[in-house]
């Protein structure tokens, strides 16, 4: 009994750590590229998107894990989508109520969390097979890894595009902003460079 508990705890910890780096959704799995490219113009929207995605991921993983023994195979994708859509709608309403400016900034990208393949992917790969504890740890790890990836990309872009971080100037006033970093082209360039750097470190291992 104690062995089982220990095994379950170590499995949860393993799932949590994997999402942070070894299986990071952005740098290792290239999941959820739509928000990654679209909302990383600045740190604030990137952080908000990361938190909203993590909220949906955790709630969806809990519900899917609780239902895993009664979901019939033919209903699997339908049930995942229904669950995810519910929590995305709730996240959208919460943002509109408590962070209205950020909700306006993120625009359609909050409802689009529904089609973020990271969430449906974790529901399929982890929550539908593992107990609740492991599913929550997995969602936390993946959510934090996703938020970390968004924030790293947003830091590079905001710094180069405006010389700012969290809208506070950090580079000298003479800094000539790289406007391209605000545009989709800048998002692709920054993401490509960061993927190159992360691959370099992984290959070294």
């Amino acid at each position: 009994m104690a062995d089982n508990e220990l095994k379950s705890k170590s499995e949860a910890a393993r799932h949590f750590v994997r999402g942070l780096w070894a299986e990071n959704p952005i740098f290792r799995q290239l999941l959820g590229m739509c928000p990654v490219l679209a909302v990383t113009v600045a740190l604030k929207p990137a952080l908000t998107m990361g938190m909203a995605t993590m909220f949906v991921l955790i709630c969806a993983n809990i519900v899917v894990s609780l239902m895993r023994n009664i979901i019939q195979p033919h209903l699997r994708i339908l049930m995942f989508t229904l669950t995810i859509a519910t929590f995305v709608t709730i996240a959208d309403l919460i943002l509109k109520a408590y962070l209205p400016e950020m909700s306006d900034t993120l625009g359609p990208f909050v409802p689009l969390i529904i089609v973020n393949c990271l969430i449906i992917g974790r529901a399929e790969a982890c929550a539908s097979r593992k107990p609740v504890g492991t599913s929550i740890a997995d969602a936390f790890g993946m959510g934090l890894g996703f938020t970390f990836g968004l924030c790293v990309l947003a830091t590079v872009r905001e710094l180069l595009a405006d010389g700012k971080l969290f809208e506070i100037s950090v580079l000298p006033s003479g800094y000539d902003p790289l406007l391209v970093m605000k545009l989709p082209a800048g998002a692709f360039i920054a993401l490509g460079l960061l993927l190159g750097i992360s691959n370099h470190f992984f290959n070294k291992k």
């Binding site: 019939q72 339908l78 709608t89 209205p100």
Partner: protein, 203 residues
């Protein structure tokens, strides 16, 4: 057949009902706050256009429901009408742009506009939202300021590129370099708002 259907899909039906109730409950709990946020945002923009010493009165369409949105706003200062404003929408470069367009009390000049909603390109089209932090009038820097005191009886048009300021006619507006589509979209929306405001007040 019904038994077979229920056996195969009871979980989807029960979940849909439960999730529907959950979303409805959250919506009921937050709807008031979301509506108030929208009103606060609109009122803040009306204050920016007309000044904090003005009070605002929303005018609803004839026979409109009690909770209907006003079709235009009357700004009053010391009991006297100081101007009018209405929200007008039109297509931008990315998606629709919602502008709150203000007019003076005589309905012959623009007070300017405030951007209620836009998703224009960062660094280019989104310059329509920029303004001086201390509220100074800087038409050389800010697109918004180029609309202040423009005449209402003339249709606003885009000024030719590189036109010198001294040759600029009243109805001409210098666009933002690199975002002609957004600049022109704003001109079209403001023209639409002018037409509508005149129509509403002449009724």
């Amino acid at each position: 057949m019904l038994n077979e259907f229920m056996k195969k899909s009871w979980l989807a039906l029960v979940s849909a009902l439960c999730f529907g109730l959950l979303v409805s409950a959250v919506n009921m709990a937050l709807a008031g706050k979301i509506k108030q946020n929208k009103i606060d945002k609109r009122d803040g923009m009306l204050e920016k256009l007309f000044g904090q010493d003005c009070s605002f009165e929303g005018v609803k369409a004839e026979g409109a429901a009690e909770d209907a949105e006003p079709i235009y706003f009357v700004a009053k200062k010391g009991g006297q009408v100081d101007g009018y404003a209405l929200i007008w929408t039109g297509p931008g470069f990315a998606e629709n742009i919602d502008l709150l367009v203000g007019f003076n009390a005589g309905l012959d000049m623009l007070k300017g506009f405030a951007v209620m909603k836009s998703a224009e390109t960062p660094g280019f089209g989104d310059q329509i939202t920029l303004e001086d932090k201390e509220g100074k009038y800087r038409p050389d820097l800010y697109y918004k300021d180029r609309f202040i005191n423009k005449p209402i009886d003339k249709v606003l048009v885009r000024a030719d590129d590189n036109i010198a300021d001294k040759h600029l006619k009243d109805e001409q507006v210098v666009t933002i370099s690199g975002s002609t589509v957004t600049s022109e979209a704003v001109i079209v929306i403001v023209n639409g708002a002018k037409k509508q405001m005149v129509k509403l007040l002449n009724k």
